[in-house]
Symmetry: D2
Subunit: 346 residues, 4 copies
């Protein structure tokens, strides 16, 4: 049994981790950390977990964590992780961090997009970008994972085959992405008040969202050249889901069918990537509650442009599910253990 701790257990990503880990056969949850709810049962804060996980939340004690756990998941607000993680890391723990702090190869990219100094740049050499389908081998031996963002997982996996194979003009990439509201977290803000949010659609951080840099880093690695692209996030009145509509100009003459074949080949053997046949497209509830990445492709021959539709569940494959997938890889377990369930659709 792998002994795990979850830091930031009472946020939405934390709750999803606890929910998934509670059903994972090879895992024993040893510690839930939540500053706001010290001394309260997880199931008092999230009553659906009663009888599933009644562990009492505690404050962080690094020594205790190091003694009791093999690995910790950190699902802390931005900023909080960077203080805690070096201590955990030095104490010998394996760490899977869900923040943006350890996702970058180049500290300057981080500092430009986050607008602040990185406090532990030396750890960036240790950390591995935990996009399982692209970095599986490095993940196996990693001690520190920068678990990818939700938008980025969806966007990168959606565009990877085209970029890797040089099918498109990389300067023409536009990603119009839509997110469910859990992506914004559990914090209170008027934008996420039910009455402001339901029956409403908005774009935000147009041209400036931090995930842009993550996507550019990874697609750039695949292309072996620098890539700059448009990324526009939208907030959609639903709880779960990331849905990316990606556009690019084709440099090659290919039909929808041929591009679909490319994708099927690229993702051959990947259990959690489902490429759609030509003529079919994913919808966000095809993946809700599951670790799947669903991808569909349309070539518009009139414009010689390709449109890729990619969908994931932001809390699952976009956060907690992929974190557990990373853990499975790191500990040599079946990669699908605990995360193979069907989505709930309804």
């Amino acid at each position: 049994m792998i002994k795990v701790g979850v830091l930031g257990a009472t946020g939405y990503a934390g709750e999803e981790l606890v929910r998934i880990l509670s059903g994972h056969k090879e895992v024993e949850i040893k510690m839930l950390v939540s500053h706001s709810y010290v001394g309260q049962k997880m199931s008092d804060i999230y009553p659906h977990l009663r009888g599933i996980c009644d562990i009492v939340c505690e404050d962080l004690d690094v020594e205790k964590a190091a003694k009791e756990c093999d690995v910790v998941f950190t699902a802390l607000p931005h900023g909080a992780s960077k203080e805690v993680i070096p201590a955990l890391f030095e104490a010998g723990l394996r760490v899977i961090d869900l923040s943006g702090d350890f996702r970058y190869n180049d500290v300057e990219v981080y500092e430009k997009w986050y607008g602040e100094k990185h406090s532990n740049p030396e750890l960036l050499d240790e950390s591995v970008y935990g996009l399982c389908e692209l970095h599986r081998d490095e993940i196996k031996n990693a001690r520190l994972i920068g678990n990818p963002g939700c938008y980025t997982t969806c966007s990168i996996l959606g565009m990877a085959p085209l970029v890797k194979n040089g099918y498109i003009d990389n300067s023409s990439i536009i990603i119009d992405a839509k997110s469910g509201v859990t992506g914004a977290g559990r914090g209170l803000h008027i934008n996420y008040h039910f009455c402001e949010c339901t029956e409403n659609l908005m774009a935000y951080k147009v041209g400036t969202h931090r995930h842009t840099s993550e996507i550019e880093q990874e697609l750039g690695l695949l292309a072996n050249e620098e890539i700059a692209l448009s990324f526009t996030p939208h907030l959609v009145p639903m709880k779960r889901g990331i849905f990316a509509t990606c556009y690019a100009n084709l440099k090659v003459d290919k039909t929808t069918q041929e591009v679909v074949e490319l994708y099927k080949e690229f993702y051959k053997g990947e259990r959690f990537v489902r490429v759609y046949d030509a003529g079919k497209l994913p919808e966000s509830n095809h993946v809700s509650g599951s670790n799947f990445v669903d991808i569909g492709v349309v070539v518009d021959p009139r414009l010689k442009r390709v449109i890729v539709i990619s969908a994931i569940d932001n809390l699952f494959k976009g956060a907690a599910g992929q974190a557990v997938q990373n853990m499975n890889i790191m500990f040599g377990l079946n990669e699908a253990e605990g995360i193979a369930q069907a989505g709930f659709y309804m």
Copy 2:
């Protein structure tokens, strides 16, 4: 491995059965029957199931069913089950029927509330009402289960301890119930069009809903006297959930705390019933996606009236989950096998 078939696999209850059974360790799905989708893969109709259940739907062949299956679940539209079930039963299959046809002890009650003759009254002697928490012993040896309705499961379990213990005036029972829209099934009707349904609330079949008779039958058995009660169903703009607000006049002087104790005692050892401490109440998303029945109680001393709040997931404990729970009991498995997962809350 228990070999199962699902009839009516492409309706909402059928889909939920397939979803749950696909994750059940002791089950092998041998046959999916769907008149409307013969020859199509389950996962073409419900794309979230791709890679989970890609079985091809077929038309009903009773002989084949009898040969290949140990048990069949029938999730057919009202009326369809009564033609099919006798044949399945005679062929030696165990049958768990999700329709209303085999839930009654007294054929006259059925005929009065359903407004038609029962075509197989002789099978009512064979059939067992599959409310697991109340009829576990009979279920063990049953060959034909009348799986309870969603409203009824929620209402009966909500009121059972009070009725059984004679705490209330049985003539004063009022159940004001609210349902998510999956309860209405997948059929097309203007009432379930997104634009008519979202941002709307309605009551329907006031004083005449068939589930009334099921509730009266079961509470009457517990009370050992005939009970007639008010039951008012409402449609709420959410997908899942049954939420029953039940009222009755107390015959005894009891506090909320004392009634809570009664409930905890009554449901002692029941894995799927969670009684709330005084001062706390269930909400519908505490049970979404799970087999739990959550119950809270308030005594209003000003009026000497008790209010019971009971919540289930209509597709899970209210249909497919309880059906699998029945199967587990019938086949001597761990009663929670395949249905012990945490609800999804978000």
Copy 3:
């Protein structure tokens, strides 16, 4: 032109007042008061109002209000009104208060249900309960209106004909009420976070909600005896709407048709009350965005019980619309001026 001020203009009831008053032909808005948004345009806070109402919000100046306005609407948080209203009142202004502070005839009832001393009990003699259909004559000459709550408007008008005519056992009244989320206001609370609220249903303040006392007061007046009743509020995942399902035991032998006739007679000439024919029932979106009160009735002869379904829009007839209706009456205008529009349904 009637010169009006709105205090608390940026809350949900305040916004609805501004929206309605902006389209009212006999009204000129002179002053919008909002502590939180002093110096900001109403249309910067609520961008849908741009070009409709671009007035700058200011802090309260009672003297200025008295000089510039004929009437003020106070849509302040509980507690804030009672400090402000005496000053406004003494300055000679007519006041329509949307809080609970001036809705009571008996200060003891207020103090019992609100759990605090009333700071201006002497004003209760001046104030008139602004339920237009029941108190029209007193409203005409009132200088201070206690504008009714949303639940109470819906519940009282739903039960008034039965209570007034002695058709029911008044000790048997149960009101199971459901509200959209705007009823909770614009304040931030985890319960109203989109992700907690959508796809969820909850009951709250069971047996203890303050509106209970308002309903009891008014129905007691109609019955000419004290009435105590059950009132259970629920939160439904929709923005607007109050939907009350009311139960009572009949003392007389009446059919649905006869009770419908009683209602039609009782509300004859009332423009904003629509009684449904037997066999039809209101739904919440029949009244969304309008000042209508829709009422349907079912007699259950099996139980000799009557079920009344009553629906209003909580922000409109349940708050701002009725406040404007009160103003129209007070100033001798056409009672429907500015509030006669069709609801939006979709």
Copy 4:
């Protein structure tokens, strides 16, 4: 008073027309035509209209229409209009058609995108494309209006200033559009079943949606050259709203502020177009229930790309509201008569 008829009164666009026209001071509704509901009151089908519009629906009688009406609105399913409109037109009626049949200058474009012969190509010379802000002068004297589609109104007005002024590379235009579900109409289809639609997001008709050709026609006219562009419609789980996120590569060096100025100048004096200041962006509920078109602009200097956000209410400015705006222009009324109301936001 202008005497009007509405054909297809019981569809969603028809209902919105009736709702708006019922509050229009210069209009008398003389005739509501609905094949499906002959003999039924409009307010029986849409109960929110009771007391607002209780007119009985009838079957179409062209002669009667010609005698009783000055103008008819045709909100018929695709295909139905083209049979009826020539007869109405010849009978001397002015016609405002909400279908796609009379929106085209070039019959070949119509036939290519609709995949069928146009039955009345000669009427295309008579018909005027009713996008009020761009074709006001022609509309004044038109006898037949092709009322624009919802996606197209939003997209064209969003891009017009850039295209007209040659700021962008016209071959780079990508419009990623999102629609509420009323855009799909009242017809029954599993895609619009509440349970399939809520908590879901989908793209459809990628690269092939008919509205593409309308947008290309109008932007081509403004550019004085042929334009081909990407248009991707999405279905969003909300009732109302069109939200277009438009991308294009800039040919000129301009800041966000400068492009905002261009838009403000272009739409100077347009009552229903609201251009946002730099740094602010429209959201779909800023326009819900109103005739406004809200437009915001972001220049991404990193990519030399402009992103335009444009939002309308699909039923209002995208259908019925603009139709009434056209009528107002045709009959020399105040252009805003009956459609100047504030949106409902909540």
